[in-house]
Symmetry: C2
Subunit: 334 residues, 2 copies
Amino acid sequence: MTEVRFDWETGIEEVCLKLQEKKRIGVQVPEGLKPRAHQIVERIIELTGAKVILWGETTYGACDLADRPLEEIGADALIHMGHLPMPYHSEFYAVPTYFVPVKHTGNLVLEKKGVKIIKKILPRKIGIVTTAQHLHLIEEASSKLERAGFDTSVTTGGPRLAAAGQLLGCNSSAARKLNVDGYLYIGTGLFHPLTVALSTGKRVACIDPHSGEVTEADAKPFLKQRYAAISVAKNAKRWGVLFSSQIGQKRIDLADKVADLLTADGKEVMMIGSIHQSYEQLLGMGIEAAVITACPRLAIEDGPTWPIPLLTVPEVQILLGKREPEPYPFDEFA
Amino acid sequence: MTEVRFDWETGIEEVCLKLQEKKRIGVQVPEGLKPRAHQIVERIIELTGAKVILWGETTYGACDLADRPLEEIGADALIHMGHLPMPYHSEFYAVPTYFVPVKHTGNLVLEKKGVKIIKKILPRKIGIVTTAQHLHLIEEASSKLERAGFDTSVTTGGPRLAAAGQLLGCNSSAARKLNVDGYLYIGTGLFHPLTVALSTGKRVACIDPHSGEVTEADAKPFLKQRYAAISVAKNAKRWGVLFSSQIGQKRIDLADKVADLLTADGKEVMMIGSIHQSYEQLLGMGIEAAVITACPRLAIEDGPTWPIPLLTVPEVQILLGKREPEPYPFDEFA
């Protein structure tokens, strides 16, 4: 197990060179970096002489920027840490926005034993995918696996993606675009490799880069949970159609369409907007099922903890008979 | 006890007459009205033919509008229910904003027994104050008390206030502007009458308009809690200075000043902005005390449930020796 550390200093130094004229800079950090927030803020003050504000609300990605409320309070720049930009947003920022990558440092642990397990799971021709904090490990993984006889490929997905091999919870196009027979996912957590397994129908081996542990992404328990949620939601009379006002999660036209479909099916529908969605927001309103048109992670990861079924858009289409139930359709942002 | 109901229908009908050309209307309702949210939304659709969105995030008052995120998602009007407008904001709304009062219906229960207790608590010359949902009871209370020998007065406070006798948690000027010797507060809850008692130094009788129960606002337990919080905060090294981006709660210049005072006193200070403030936002950052420049209700009502002291701005001034500890200073928004 190599030690997991964060490298944010280099990125902050580079960005602050561009921020010498700024008066008030807002900073967003992912939850995992909050223990470093004080150091980060102090360093930005030191390097720019500006007033620096930490944005306190949670951020879940480059889709979830604080540029608009920061403009409200007179900030003239936003530093967003830990996520890569969604390139097609850049013309819409309310204040100039700078993305600082945060690498998880520590070497890639990929030894003979790991390669052997990967060989058992995957065929020869594979794609490599990962999330923002591990992108710098792709090259090393690729050379090691090529030397072990694999044919590896990496590509950049659609306009939401900034780097080759990068996955988002709402976009696995960096996997789908490759003509390969299986995938290696570098990272932790099950959500991202599942999106790859289910959207491609191919096997996915996962390597935890710090422990070297290799496992296979197993979709079965996940699929069981999702089809059960769809089934429970069939009995719901009053539905919430949830959507976000955040720049990269806003799909109001889709929300309208889903609301129309549910209404046509005889359901009562409430359109409910918010910045971040939560079950607490629905309390007391008699809502028996909900569909999320914002971040699909919410349905997949938080949904099972809600007392009512929370479905993705394609899951509602299945429920209404507008879509085949299999293969299971992930909700992908184009 | 008279039955407590809400009268929102009349207000909605009046407002919807002005919204015949609107395409997408956002609605904010206070938490207590959420059980009626579905009915309210349906009624607005019926009366306007527009698409109607309920704004899901909590709203705490006219200081806490969703006009900006609603503009983001293409709404062309906001109906904000249950609070009176803060008149001086009106030129800053991002979308046209309409306030619908929500009355608590049911008669004022003020009988001989109640009047007798009020006479024990208050001198002859009194002011009458209340919150938005009970404003329509002031006239009746006034006539009854005049007949019982009181000399009653009512006035409108500063530019944050829309109606005579109206209190806000952050503004008791409708009490302070009167030259009287005591106050009758119509309503429930201790927060509002306490602001009157402490900001005027005079006795306050409280009548629950539906049960007719009369009590006196007792500041002692409250003051004990606040001075204890100030005392605990003295040992804190790292401070969060919290502020809001919401239209009626935004005091960024004040936040700067408080941060400067704390820094000059040798504290480590982080400026933390958000829409609504919570302790969860501070987790993991080593913050040992915080000061709220947004809604002072947060320090007074929620603060005691936080694991760290949460002070108002005048409380920090006391802590730093910049202000006398007594009489206790409420944080008033001018």
